[in-house]
C-alpha cells in the first residue's frame, strides 16, 4: 500500500475507535434508529387496525332511537347493530374518548317523514377526533341509502321508473396497486430513515472537525507528514462509516418491524423484504457519504462543537424539509427532483415501497450528485484545515 493510503487508513481507524468509544451518544443514536422501524410501524398499524375494527363492527350510534323505528328497521336490514348513543356524547366526542359519530334524530322524525317534510338528521362528530371523523363518511352513505330507498318506494308506488331518478350511474375504479395504496400510510418511512442517518453522522462529523479545533489537537495533527487531504479523507471515511452503519441498521429494522403489524391488511400491503431493504441501502449509502462531507465542511469553520451544532442546523433543516416537497406533492414527481440530494433519495425509496422498478439513470443521477458533493466537501475541509488550526 502507498504511504498516502496508509495515512488515510490510520486516520480512519483512529476516528472510528474514537467515535465508537463515545458510547452514550452512539447508543442513543443506535437505539433510536434501530427501534424506530418497529415503533413507527406499530403506531401506523395501531391506527389502521382500529379503523378496520370500527368498520368491521358495523355499529351505528343514534341519539333519540325511540323516535325513529323506520330508520332503525332500515339500518338493521343492512346488518348494522343500532345502539343508543350515551347521553354526554358531545363531551365524549370532544375529549376523543368516544370514537364513533352519532346520528341525532329529532323527536317528530316519524311524523315528519310520513308528511314528506324532510326532517333534519344530524351526524355529530368532532373534526379533531380522527377516528370519529374516519367513520363519518360511512354513516353519511348509510343515511343517503336510507333516503334513496324511501324515494324509490314512494315513486314505485306511483308507477314511476326508478331509472328516471338515476340518469347516470357512477362507478369507482381505483388504479392504484395494493402497494401503491400502502405508501399513503408507509410513505413517511424513507423520511425517518434519512433523519436517523443524518443524526448518526452529525456527532461524528462535528467531533472530527470543530471538536478537534476546540480540543486544540488540530494544530499538532497538522505537524505530521501526511498531506492534508489524506487526513481529511480518513476523517470523512470514519464519519461516513458511522452514518452508513446507522442507515443499514435502520433499513433492516423494518424487517422484524413487520412482525408486530397488528393489521392484516397493512401487513399484506406493506411489502418490505430483503430486496427492498437492500435497495434502500443502495439509495442511502451515497447520501450518507455526501451528508458526512457536507456536515464536516460546515463544522470546520466553527471554533467550538457548540457553534458547529448551531451551524449544522442548516444542513439538518435542509434534509428535513426537502423531502416534504414530495409529501406536499407540489406538482407530483418532477425530473429535477432527482438532482436534489435528500429529495431524490426520498423519491427513490418511495418508488421502492410502491414496488416500482428503479431505472439505471434514476440511480445514476443522485449518486453522481452525491459524489460531487462529497468531493467538494472534502476539498473544502482540506483547504480550510490550516486556517482552522491557527485560529
Amino acid at each position: 500500500m502507498t504511504r498516502r493510503g496508509r495515512a488515510v487508513l490510520t486516520v480512519l481507524k483512529k476516528e472510528l475507535v474514537d467515535a465508537l468509544r463515545d458510547r452514550r451518544t452512539l447508543m442513543t443514536v443506535l437505539a433510536s434508529s434501530v427501534l424506530m422501524g418497529p415503533l413507527v410501524l406499530m403506531a401506523i398499524s395501531g391506527l389502521v387496525a382500529s379503523l378496520e375494527a370500527s368498520a368491521e363492527q358495523r355499529e351505528v350510534y343514534v341519539a333519540g332511537l325511540a323516535h325513529a323505528p323506520t330508520l332503525r328497521n332500515f339500518l338493521e336490514r343492512q346488518t348494522y347493530t343500532v345502539k343508543e348513543a350515551p347521553a354526554d356524547y358531545e363531551l365524549q366526542l370532544r375529549k376523543a374518548t368516544f370514537s364513533d359519530p352519532v346520528v341525532v334524530v329529532p323527536d317528530d322524525f316519524e311524523a315528519a317523514l310520513v308528511r314528506g317534510e324532510a326532517p333534519v338528521v344530524e351526524i355529530v362528530s368532532d373534526g379533531a377526533n380522527q377516528r370519529a371523523e374516519a367513520s363519518t363518511g360511512r354513516i353519511e352513505r348509510l343515511l343517503g341509502a336510507f333516503g334513496r330507498e324511501r324515494v324509490t318506494l314512494a315513486l314505485a308506488l306511483r308507477g314511476v321508473s326508478v331509472q328516471l331518478l338515476e340518469p347516470i350511474e357512477v362507478e369507482e375504479r381505483d388504479l392504484a396497486s395494493t402497494q401503491t395504496r400502502a405508501t399513503r400510510i408507509t410513505g413517511m418511512l424513507p423520511y425517518f430513515v434519512m433523519i436517523a442517518m443524518l443524526y448518526g453522522a452529525l456527532n461524528a462529523a462535528l467531533d472530527t472537525t470543530a471538536g478537534e479545533r476546540e480540543r486544540g489537537s488540530l494544530e499538532p495533527l497538522l505537524m505530521n507528514p501526511p498531506e492534508r487531504w489524506a487526513l481529511v479523507a480518513g476523517k470523512w471515511g470514519a464519519v461516513a462509516c458511522v452514518s452508513m452503519l446507522i442507515a443499514v441498521l435502520s433499513c433492516f429494522s423494518f424487517l422484524p418491524g413487520q412482525w408486530v403489524l397488528r393489521s392484516d391488511t397493512l401487513a399484506a400491503m406493506f411489502q418490505y423484504g430483503l430486496r427492498e431493504a437492500l435497495l434502500f441501502v443502495v439509495v442511502l449509502v451515497p447520501l450518507a457519504a455526501a451528508l458526512s462531507a457536507a456536515l464536516m465542511a460546515v463544522a470546520i469553520r466553527c471554533k467550538t462543537f457548540k457553534e458547529a451544532q448551531a451551524s449544522a442546523t442548516v444542513v439538518v433543516l435542509a434534509v428535513s424539509l426537502l423531502p416534504l416537497v414530495s409529501v406536499f406533492n407540489l406538482g407530483g414527481e418532477s425530473p429535477w427532483h432527482l438532482w436534489v440530494p435528500a429529495l431524490a433519495q426520498n423519491m427513490l425509496m418511495t418508488r421502492v415501497l410502491k414496488g416500482e422498478a428503479l431505472g439505471g439513470v434514476d440511480l445514476a443521477i443522485p449518486i453522481g450528485v452525491c459524489v460531487v458533493v462529497t468531493a467538494a466537501g472534502i476539498a473544502f475541509v482540506a483547504r480550510s484545515l490550516r486556517q482552522a488550526a491557527l485560529k
Binding site: R6, D18, D22, R215, S217, P220, M223, P225, R386
Partner: protein, 266 residues
C-alpha cells in the same frame, strides 16, 4: 540542526468585532496589518539546547509555526538539517518533533493510543510505535498512565503525553513552544532532566529549540539564548555573553534591557 534566516510574517487583522453583514463591512474597513515577525534569525546546532526567549507577543509562536510549515513566511528562509521548509515541508515534519502551543489530546483514547497514533502517522509500524511509546513513558516517568484514557489527566500528565507524542518518531530536532506553561515545580524539573538527557550523545544529541518567556528556565537549561522582541532577534549568545553585552550581573535585568529597550521597539 535548525537554521532560521531573517523570516518575516504579517497578518491582516481587523479591530472591529461586530458580527453580521454590517459588521463585515466595518471589519473590512478597519483592516490593519499586524507584523507578527519582522526579522528573526537564529542557528540551533545538534546536541545543544537553544532558548528562544521573549515577552508575550514577541513572535516566538509564529516563528515556530513557520518552522512546522503551518505558516508560510513572507520573507526569509528556514532550514532543518539543510532541507528547506518551503520546498520540502513533508520531509521537515518527519525530522521534527514539535510540541506546539496547542497540545490537545484525544480524551477517549488512552495515552498509549494517543502516542501510537502519531507514530502511525509518521509511518511507523504498530509494534515499533508501541515499543517507542513504552520507552518514552519510562523516560517521562508515566508508565502507569499509559493505558488510561487521557480524559481527566492533570496538566502535567497531559504535557508528558503530548511531549511523548511529539517525540514518538525519534526526531533529530525537537521544538518546544512554552512547554512549562501550567506545570508545577516537580513536573518542570522532570522535563528539564529529560531535555538535558536528550542533548547528550546517549540521548541522541538532539537539536532542541525551546521557547519561553521565563528567564530562570533559560538560565538553568540553555546552552545559548536568542532574545526575540517586537518580532526581531535583538540578541543572541550564551547567558554569560548576554550579561557581558549588557554589563549586568542579573540575567533578568539583562533580558529587560534587551527586550524592552525603547530603541528596539521602533
Amino acid at each position: 540542526m535548525i537554521e532560521v534566516r531573517s523570516v518575516a510574517k504579517a497578518f491582516t487583522a481587523s479591530s472591529a468585532k461586530a458580527p453580521g453583514w454590517a459588521g463585515a463591512l466595518r471589519r473590512a474597513a478597519s483592516r490593519t496589518t499586524v507584523h507578527a515577525v519582522r526579522d528573526v534569525s537564529f542557528h540551533a546546532p545538534a546536541g545543544a539546547i537553544t532558548g528562544l526567549l521573549g515577552p508575550n507577543g514577541a513572535g516566538k509562536t509564529t516563528t515556530l509555526r513557520m518552522l512546522g510549515a503551518l505558516v508560510k513566511p513572507d520573507a526569509g528562509s528556514l532550514e532543518v538539517d539543510g532541507i528547506d521548509v518551503a520546498r520540502r515541508p513533508r520531509e521537515i515534519l518527519a525530522r521534527l518533533g514539535m510540541l506546539s502551543d496547542a497540545r490537545g489530546l484525544y480524551p477517549r483514547l488512552t495515552a498509549r493510543e494517543n502516542i501510537a497514533y502519531y507514530g502511525a502517522l509518521q509511518g511507523m509500524v504498530p509494534d515499533a510505535a508501541d515499543a517507542r511509546a513504552h520507552d518514552l513513558a519510562r523516560m517521562f516517568d508515566m508508565v502507569p498512565l499509559l493505558d488510561r484514557r487521557t480524559e481527566g489527566f492533570s496538566q502535567g500528565e497531559r504535557m508528558k503525553t503530548a511531549l511523548a507524542r511529539a517525540l514518538v518518531h525519534d526526531p533529530a530536532n525537537i521544538v518546544l513552544d512554552e512547554p512549562t506553561n501550567g506545570l508545577d515545580v516537580l513536573a518542570t524539573r522532570a522535563l528539564r532532566e529529560s531535555l538535558r538527557w536528550l542533548r547528550t550523545p546517549e540521548g541522541g544529541s538532539k537539536c532542541i529549540v525551546f521557547s519561553t518567556h521565563i528567564m530562570q528556565e533559560v538560565e538553568r537549561l540553555c546552552d545559548s539564548v536568542v532574545v526575540v522582541a517586537h518580532g526581531r532577534t535583538v540578541a543572541s549568545g550564551t547567558v554569560e555573553e548576554l550579561l557581558a553585552q549588557t554589563g549586568e550581573h542579573d540575567f533578568e535585568e539583562a533580558f529587560v534591557r534587551l527586550a524592552f529597550d525603547p530603541e528596539q521597539a521602533s
